[in-house]
Each structure stands twice: as C-alpha cells, then as structure tokens.
Symmetry: C2
Subunit: 406 residues, 2 copies
C-alpha cells in the first residue's frame, strides 16, 4: 500500500506522559511480520473518559468498554488490529474477557479497569489465544517512549501512523496531552470515529474528563468523514494519569486551557485520519456559516462532505460549484437559495444567490490543483457555523475497497 500523498513528513516527536507506558508486539492476529497488538499501562488512580460508535451492531470490545466506563478508572488499554471482534456473538464476549483477564493478571490490576479495542475484519472469530498468551511479554516490554510502535500496531489499511501532542496549563502547572489514532475507511459522522487513544498527566476527575472529551470530540472526530460508513468499533479514550501535582480541579472553568489544548490534539489526530482516507488525494475543509444553528451547519457541512458528486468533482479538479448547491439542498436544513454564498479557496463564486460578475474559474481551478482545498458556504439564514473535514473520492478508493478482504 503506497503512502497517502497527504501524509505528514514524519511521525511527530511525542513527549513522555508520566504514569503511562506503552508496548507493541507482532502476534500475527491476521497480518504477518508487523506489530498488531499494543498495550498501554496507566498508573494506579488514572481516570478515564470515552466516546464510542453509535452503531447498533457494535463490536464486543465496545460493549465491554461501555460497561466498565461508569467506574471512571483505568489501568490498561489493550488493542489489536486485523480483526474487529464484531458480529461474533457470545463467543466475541468470551474472547474479550479472555483478553481482559490475561492483561489484568499480568499487570495485577482489576479486570474492570482494562479497556479493549479491536479493529479489522468483521464477522470472523478473534484468535484471542495469540493475544492472551503474550500478555506477560507485553507487560514486561512496557516503556514510556513507545509512541511510534503503539501507533503502528493499531493500523489496518492506514498508510502512516498518527500521533499528536500539546501542552496546557492547569492552575499554573504545565500538563501534557498526547495521543495516537488510526482509521482510513468506514469513517463517518456522529461517532468517535475509529480508534484513538489520548493521554494526559493532568489530574482530572472522571466526570469532568468525560465532559471535556465529549465537547472536544463533537467538534473534531465527529466532524470528519471519509466515506459516510460507520465502523462497528469506533472508540476514543482519554486517560488522565494524575502525575502532575496541581490543585484539585473542581469545575470546568479551571480547564479552559486544557479544553483548548485537547481540541488542538484531537483536531490534529482527526485531520490526520482524513488525510489517510482510503484513496485520498486532496484534503477538503468545508466551512458552513449563516445556518439556523451549529447543529444545522454541521448537517449541511456533512451533506457537502459526504456527497460523492462533490468529492469526485474535487478529485477531477473541476470547479463544479453546482454540486455544492445540490448538496446544500439535499441536507434538508433551512437554507435560502437567494442568499446563498459560495467560495472555493479565496475566490467568491456566488454572493447572495448570484454568480459573482468577476468570477474567474481559472483561479478556482488553480486552487483545486493543490492538495489543501477549502469550500465555504454561507446559507444566509442565521448565525450557526461549523467546520468539517473530508477527502476526495478517487479511483484508489474503489481499488482498495473492491479488494480489501482477499
């Protein structure tokens, strides 16, 4: 698989998070000769927050994570690629428990503090023994600086590992947030899409941590789409190891810097997922303004970002703005055709329903020849706005997906 043309030059240099150690091994769940299992160990007392797929056919690991999340405490996250352990019935549940028990034993921690995520093929039984029998080996190889290995082990059709980090202030103390993500197909809105694991050394109670995560996810992972298809396994976890000794956080006001930093990290990870969208050759930012509400703006943005006709037009470097009009119209949200404004790149094409008399298509065509495309739409009815991200739809998407499993 050739690397996405939108890939960053290299994996970022991620900082150590006190209270977090990582390990990754090649156990041959499905792929041969590459790391496919990762373990994150968290210091005792670490809090955790999570958001998961809303799929009605969600995987056994997602069911497990949802079940233990209300406790708010985590000591480990174990993840495998190659098999999603989804649509595997009661056997799938037993296999999750086998994984959890093995990790809990090796780390001497409670089972209900071991989170699990699996990604890959749906409907095949997970070869769980291959994972459970290396639990001790995984535990003994834990190190604080194994970011690249961990990010690589969770990849499926991803063409590059994804990581991001940033610092924030809590009560004047510097805390760090760093995380990894994977995902390139089956990426769609309204979910904490695919797998992402984010860590901080800050000390944040689980209820506040959950609020912070939900808020940031809604404006980042829930605003990306590759192909409108929703995974059965989408999982986003945020763990706080509590190793920075700042004053106890009692309310959200103390977390303004943290919230902003978290959103920065999640945006970085989410857009990296889009840039590795299957077959992506262009990264597209869709900005919607003037909508009836933020929710309405997001719906319209997603209608544009999910439209196969818009995405193929961008792939073909065709300034076919009529397809943007179509997509706004089909969203079903309030919009005023005679107040609609559309721009691509820096070029205003339509203002208040009328073609800009100075519109020069050649300038837009030049913009479309780049890899970083922007579409701006003002729908002319209110003050709601949203930004969503997607990629184009190319021959490579078809090639990858007409032959993924075999």
């Amino acid at each position: 698989m050739k690397k996405s043309p939108l890939a960053p030059v290299s994996f970022p240099d991620l900082p150590e998070i006190k209270g977090l150690r990582l390990a990754a091994l090649a156990v041959g769940v499905k792929y041969k000769g590459r790391k496919d299992v990762m373990l994150a160990e968290l210091a005792p007392g670490s809090t955790i927050a999570g958001v998961f797929t809303k799929s009605k056919t969600c995987s056994a690991p997602v069911d497990w994570c949802k079940k233990i999340l209300p406790k708010g405490r985590a000591r480990a996250i174990v993840v495998n690629s190659g098999n999603a352990n989804a649509f595997t019935g009661k056997q799938g549940e037993r296999d999750v428990k086998t994984m959890v028990a093995a990790v809990a034993r090796s780390l001497k921690c409670p089972q209900n503090q071991v989170y699990v995520a699996s990604t890959g093929v749906i409907g095949e039984r997970l070869p769980v023994e291959r994972i459970s029998k290396v639990a001790v080996k995984l535990s003994s190889s834990l190190k604080s600086n194994r970011w690249l290995q961990a990010a690589s082990a969770i990849m499926t059709t991803d063409t590059y590992p994804k990581g991001a980090s940033v610092t924030a202030e809590v009560y004047g103390q510097t805390v760090t947030i760093a995380g990894i993500a994977k995902g390139s197909g089956m990426i769609a809105p309204d979910m904490a899409t695919m797998l992402s694991f984010v860590f901080t050394d800050a000390t944040i109670p689980e209820d506040l941590l959950q609020k912070q995560l939900k808020k940031a996810a809604d404006q980042t992972f829930n605003c990306i789409t590759v192909d409108s298809d929703t995974s059965t396994s989408d999982t986003l976890l945020l763990a706080a190891t509590g190793q920075v000794d700042h004053q106890p956080v009692k309310n959200e006001k103390e977390l303004k810097s943290f919230q902003s930093a978290l959103q920065t990290v999640l945006t970085d990870l989410a857009t990296k997922v889009v840039k590795d969208g299957e077959g992506a050759s262009k990264f597209i930012t869709v900005d919607i303004t003037g909508a009836a509400s933020a929710k309405s703006a997001r719906t319209i943005g997603m209608a544009v970002a999910n439209s196969p006709l818009v995405k193929t037009a961008i792939a073909g470097e065709d300034a076919n703005w009529g397809r943007v009009v179509m997509a706004v119209g089909k969203a079903g949200e309030k919009a005023d055709r005679d107040r609609l404004s559309i721009a691509m790149g820096e070029t205003t094409i339509v203002t208040r329903g009328k073609l800009n008399p100075n519109y020069d298509e050649a300038v837009v065509t030049k913009h479309l020849k780049g890899t970083d495309i922007t579409i701006k739409v003002d729908v002319g009815v209110g003050k709601g706005k949203a930004r969503v991200w997607t990629c184009d739809l190319t021959h490579d998407y078809i090639s990858i997906n007409a032959d993924y499993r075999s």
Copy 2:
C-alpha cells in the same frame, strides 16, 4: 458514453394513450446533434398528479410545477435536457415563464396547465429562447407514437432511453398506463427521483390520482439510490387523459387494479434508472424483513444500498458480508445483533447472529459474478419489510463524475 451493461435489449414497444401526443426536437440547449426538448400534449380535461424533489435548493421549474399542481389540470408538459435551470434566481423564474407562455400560445391553453421540467447542469442560465422559438414547430409535430423520441430527448448522462407500460381494469374497462423516465447520477432516496412522466387514458379525479401516485412512488422511485445525492430537479408527473369511458371513480377501492398496475410501471421505470446508474456493472436488490416498521426497514435498506463499502465489495465480487452488518448497524434503526440473518443470492450466510455452519463462500462468490445480485437481511425485531434497489460503485462512476462538466 458506452451503454450500461445492465441495459435492456431494446426500448419497449409502448402503446398509444388516447388523449396524449408527443414531440421531440434538437434545439442545442447544450448538446449538439441530438434531441433535447420534448413536448407532451394532453387532451382538455386531463387531470395530473406530481411528486417533486425535497431539495431546499430546488430548480425554478420544480417551483413552478408545485405552484400550479393544486389546480390538478394539465394540457402540456415541456422538458429540456442539458440545463437544469437550477440556482438561477429570479432570472430562472422568468425563463420558466417564457417557456410556459410560448407553449401555452402554441397550444392555445391556459399557462397554469403547462408543466415544465429541466435537467442538466446547475447554475448556468437556461438558453430559453432556443426553446421558446420552436414551440410552434414542436406543437405541429405532435404524434401519438413518439415514445422513443420523447424518452431520448430527456436523457443527460443516461446511456439508454427508458420506457414501460401495462394495462389495468377500472370498472371492467381496460385502461393503459405508459411512461418514460431518465436519470443516472444524483439519484437518492426520499424523492420522486429525477424525471419521469407517466400517462394513462383512465378517467381519475386529481385528488385520487395524487394519492395513487404518492403511494406508488413511495415503494418505487423513493426506494432506489445510485449515489445518495439528490437532484434539485426531481420530478414525477402522472397525467390521466380521461379518454376511456368507464364509470366515474369515486374512491380508492375502485382503483385496486390501477394501483397495482401503476406500481408495476413505476417499478419498471425506477429499476431501469438504477440499471443505468453511473458506472453500474451490477444491479442490487436489497430485501429487509423483521424490522420494527416498514419505514425502519426502508431506512436500513437504504443504509445498505448507500454504503460505499457494500457497493465496492459487490463491484469487486467479494462476499464481504461483514460490511452488510456494518451498514445495518449505522442505520440507527432497531436491530438485534444476535437475531440478525443475512443471505446473498440463495445462500444463507448468517442465521440469528451465527455464521451458518454449512456456509460455502464459493457459492456466494459465484452469485456475485452475475449481474443481478440480491442481499436479504432479517433484523429480527418485528414485521416491517422493504425492498430497495441500487447498483454497485465502480471505477467508471469516478471517471464519469470527475469529468462530467467539461
């Protein structure tokens, strides 16, 4: 453009409908050297019913048709291909009126009995003079047997003209229903999709005609999807010329045979639209049973039919039923993972959440090598059912749409 591999052998031999005459001309709206305007003339007293796109950016012709529909009477339908007269503002409204006035003059009929439809590029002004100046010539070339010419004149990226007919009984008298349709991209649910014009010589009051059409459209045109994109111009009209002298129809009970016949014609036309879906190489029928309601079944069916991952798997002849599970899950409707059953062709793959122990993938793979694919899903929660139709997603879809406009 090469003809769809799913095209019928030939255009059907459609019968004459008393009270209907058709004409088609090449006027060069956009395409050169092919018919691109069609006129249907209806006998005085003809009733009409219509369903239209729900797009918030619908075209000027759709606005016009919606405005005059409550009168329930029609004398003419004029249609052009090559330009949708959509997103053309006040000028677009004026251009519709110019077309209407020219046709009304040439047929000496009221303007509010002249229906208009336009299909093609969005956002460019319609060259209306080219159409209005041939109104007299169109009127003078009206003939009762111009079905093929009319069906050809309304095509855009269609690769073959589409027609269908059937007979029914009303009070023991034989009536005929015949119609034409077009559409190959921007085809999506919840709309009277693209353009279709259906005629009958029966005598049916407009309110009953509208009920009949709505009911039939919901189970035919509103159950097809090519690419999930919704046109700004979708229009389905049904006109009754009242030339068969049966007893006056007072309620729906008298129209059982007619309703069934209408549904047959619309199914024929709607599936012909799918079989001409851009880049289609396989025709896919999705049957959903065991849903909470018929509406829920349709939503699930559409989630399967719109899933790029399901559609590319079929294109690749890959028996990847896990993607069907994913699509059912993302629909957001009630479904029981542990009671889900899935079949492809005649092969049961999953029964009540468990892989069929006798499942032989080779048999499904053989089915997928054909062109007529069936996917059956029982979601295990109720008695709701629905059938929807779609086509696969291929390299040709990308090729056609990355370069449509230029």
